[in-house]
């Protein structure tokens, strides 16, 4: 019997399923980062040792108002909120005269849904109290009692103040 060595075969790893899965993950992260963008607007938040990290879901129904110094005039503040443009969640600058109406509309929607509403105030540490007070006053007028202030967890590093 004549011995014949086996013919060499080329092995190729089929990467197509892996690419499919990774594409799905990338699309998920792209969409998710778009959704959380308005709620995690980059701000220089103040530090607080007693601040606790909470999952967004734990806060329940909420309206988020970002307060940041205006780029044109740092003494003034801009109020950034989420807005739905029909296709995407985007950000919109809210004039101070519309803050109360915005909060009232959110509170009314929550009442219709039979749920409570929280107001999450994400204020830059450099804005003045007067500018945050506008939102607090709006919460009072809209009868929103539960207020959450966003902060960085921990002690303020030396020299930052």
């Amino acid at each position: 019997m004549l011995f014949q060595p086996p013919k060499p075969v080329s092995m190729t790893l089929n990467l197509a399923p892996m690419v499919d899965v990774m594409m799905c993950l990338i699309i998920f992260f792209l969409l998710a980062s778009k959704l959380v963008d308005a709620q995690h607007h980059p701000l220089n938040l103040p530090y607080a040792q007693t601040a606790v990290e909470v999952e967004r879901g734990e806060l329940g129904r909420r309206v988020v108002i970002n307060v940041r110094p205006s780029e044109d005039d740092p003494r003034r503040a801009e109020y950034i909120v989420e807005a739905w443009d029909g296709q995407n969640i985007t950000e919109r600058r809210l004039p101070t005269t519309e803050i109360v109406d915005y909060l009232r509309a959110g509170a009314d929607r929550a009442r219709e849904a039979g749920a409570g509403l929280r107001c999450v105030i994400r204020a830059d540490q450099e804005v003045s109290y007067e500018q945050v007070e506008i939102v607090l006053r709006g919460c009072g007028l809209a009868k929103i009692a539960k207020v959450v202030f966003s902060a960085r967890v921990g002690e303020e590093p030396e020299g930052e103040s």
């Binding site: 190729t12 089929n14 990467l15 197509a16 892996m18 690419v19 990774m22 594409m23 993950l25 990338i26 992260f29 792209l30 998710a32 980062s33 959380v36 995690h40 938040l45 103040p46 530090y47 607080a48 040792q49 007693t50 601040a51 606790v52 990290e53 909470v54 806060l59 307060v67 999450v120 204020a123 830059d124 540490q125 450099e126 804005v127 003045s128 109290y129 007067e130 500018q131 945050v132 007070e133 506008i134 607090l136 006053r137 919460c139 009072g140 007028l141 009868k143 929103i144 009692a145 539960k146 207020v147 959450v148 202030f149 966003s150 902060a151 960085r152 967890v153 303020e156 103040s161």
Partner: protein, 161 residues
């Protein structure tokens, strides 16, 4: 000259390895970016007293366990008043010591601590005062807001709760 036969039609698999490399890098970027952005933010929660504030009803004055007033200083820092008296050194460590003594002396920690800040006081100091109060065990932190919005018209302790 002998012409070669055409190559038999076989399965051709494109090389997906470079694509996988690129997708992996993008995926790692999103993973790191998402976790860094989401993990660092904490929350300070409070519940505003529904009887007080700028609602439709007549304003109700809250008698606080401690009233902390923050007065704007020219250098960006604040003068701290507790129960109407200036805190020597205007230090938040001293404020914490005062609040702790107050708690140890039997003050009801469920009673409201009211923070009244001048309109120009930076938000970081208001959050610091709130943080100190919570660290000392006082959980019910309220904020004084002026009923009519008059920028620059507030004085420490002169706001309405």
């Amino acid at each position: 000259m002998r012409r070669g036969l055409p190559e038999p039609a076989g399965e051709r698999i494109p090389n997906l390895a470079p694509m996988v490399d690129v997708i992996m890098v993008i995926l790692v970027f999103f993973l790191l970016g998402a976790s860094l952005e989401l993990a660092a933010e904490g929350a300070l929660q409070t519940e505003l007293d529904p009887r007080s504030g700028p609602g439709e009803g007549a304003p109700v004055e809250i008698i606080p366990a401690v009233k902390i007033a923050l007065e704007e200083r020219g250098d960006g820092r604040v003068n701290i008043y507790v129960l109407g008296k200036r805190l020597p050194g205007d230090s938040f460590d001293d404020l914490h010591a005062f609040m702790t003594r107050r708690r140890d002396a039997g003050a009801d920690t469920a009673n409201p601590v009211v923070i009244a800040a001048q309109s120009g006081v930076r938000w970081r100091w208001v959050v610091r005062a709130m943080d100190v109060s919570i660290r000392a065990g006082f959980t019910n932190v309220q904020f004084a807001v002026s009923l009519a919005h008059e920028p620059g018209g507030d004085t420490p302790g002169g706001n309405h709760e």
